[in-house]
């Protein structure tokens, strides 16, 4: 790794990561496919969850736990499925005990149909979790007031959606996402949910977002391992483009090739 790449790290609550991709572990057809996708994506973190043991299952998460440990990736437990702040805080506390990390992807869902975050419950839970010493990564919308309230609560990282979870629609509200980036330049912003293809991820990285969190776009691809690799390349490409500073868009055409010295032309005699 050369110098500039060493310096350009994703910072999450003081911890640095060379990758800007966070990868979900759900909906893979097999554990081996997940392991191969992790290798291909080279993610900074893996999102995980917790559940009661299903009756009749013998494994109880042991093989999944082993896979996580072997991957040697940082773990980001979520509070998926929580519909209230109280439930999310309790789940986060259980996750901290189970996974031995202060990081938490905070989800407080407000609508069963589109799994939209509940902004009121989200802020309430974030306030409590920050007090309890958690490093909170809230799954939120791009609404500026909500994001400001989360920042006020002590969140150093925000994770606005591109579109509803699992839809693969890509950024639904590009202008608002870009405005959020402009208004919160000192905070880490990771686009979470709704990304479908690598160009979506590349686009938000070009806008200056710090990272992308993916799950379904990789796990439900026909070839998840190849798609994981494609996303990793797209995120790196988008980041490099942002750092390189894109040209400004022009209203009219600007010739790339000089007009001077063009053959088969002649100067009109002056009178």
């Amino acid at each position: 790794m050369n110098g500039p790449q060493m310096e350009d790290q994703l910072n999450l609550y003081g911890q640095s990561f060379s990758s800007r991709l966070l990868l979900g572990t759900a909906r893979y057809d097999s554990p081996s496919l997940l392991a191969d996708a992790i290798s291909a994506a080279d993610p900074a973190m893996l999102t995980v969850s917790l559940r009661r043991q299903t009756s009749g299952t013998k494994d109880s998460g042991q093989s999944f736990w082993n896979l996580l440990r072997e991957s040697q990736r940082a773990i980001l437990p979520n509070t998926a499925g929580c519909f209230s702040a109280r439930e999310a805080v309790k789940t986060a506390c259980m996750a901290r005990e189970l996974f031995e990390t202060n990081f938490v992807k905070l989800e407080v869902i407000g609508d069963e149909l589109n799994l939209q975050p509940d902004p009121f419950g989200l802020v309430e839970a974030a306030v409590e979790l920050v007090k309890l010493g958690f490093y909170v990564l809230p799954y939120c919308t791009e609404d500026w007031i909500l994001c400001r309230r989360l920042i006020d609560a002590g969140c150093m990282v925000l994770m606005p959606w591109a579109a509803p979870i699992g839809t693969g629609q890509g950024p639904r509200n590009p202008r608002a996402l870009q405005e959020l980036r402009e208004r919160a330049p000192q905070f880490t912003l990771i686009v979470d949910a709704g990304i479908g293809v690598p160009s979506h991820a590349c686009q938000v990285m070009e806008w200056g977002f710090d990272g992308v969190l993916l799950n379904t776009a990789v796990s439900r691809a026909l070839d998840p391992v190849r798609m994981a690799s494609a996303f990793a390349a797209a995120i790196r490409g988008g980041r490099n483009a942002f750092l390189a500073g894109p040209m400004s868009v022009q209203e009219i055409a600007v010739a790339s090739t000089s007009q001077i010295g063009r053959p088969f032309t002649f100067d009109l005699p002056s009178h």
Binding site: R27, V48, S49, R52, S60, M94
Partner: protein, 65 residues
């Protein structure tokens, strides 16, 4: 004694502590436990007294997005 384990009421022999309960249930690891919705840190199971009617949640790692 009656204890609610993962949402199901169980009729169990008299067990004084959470440690005894976990030895009786022998859930496969790794896991975390809450009693009456309060997380019980591992290492304190022997000190955690359980009573009839307590609600015990035992959770395991699972895939998530």
């Amino acid at each position: 004694m009656f204890v609610v384990v993962n949402g199901k009421t169980c009729n169990l022999p008299e067990l004084r502590t959470l440690d005894a309960l976990l030895q009786f249930l022998s859930p496969a690891g790794p896991f975390a436990v809450a009693r009456n919705e309060e997380v019980i840190p591992r290492g304190t199971y022997e000190e955690c007294v359980i009573s009839t009617g307590d609600r015990i949640d035992i959770v395991h790692p699972t895939a998530g997005g």
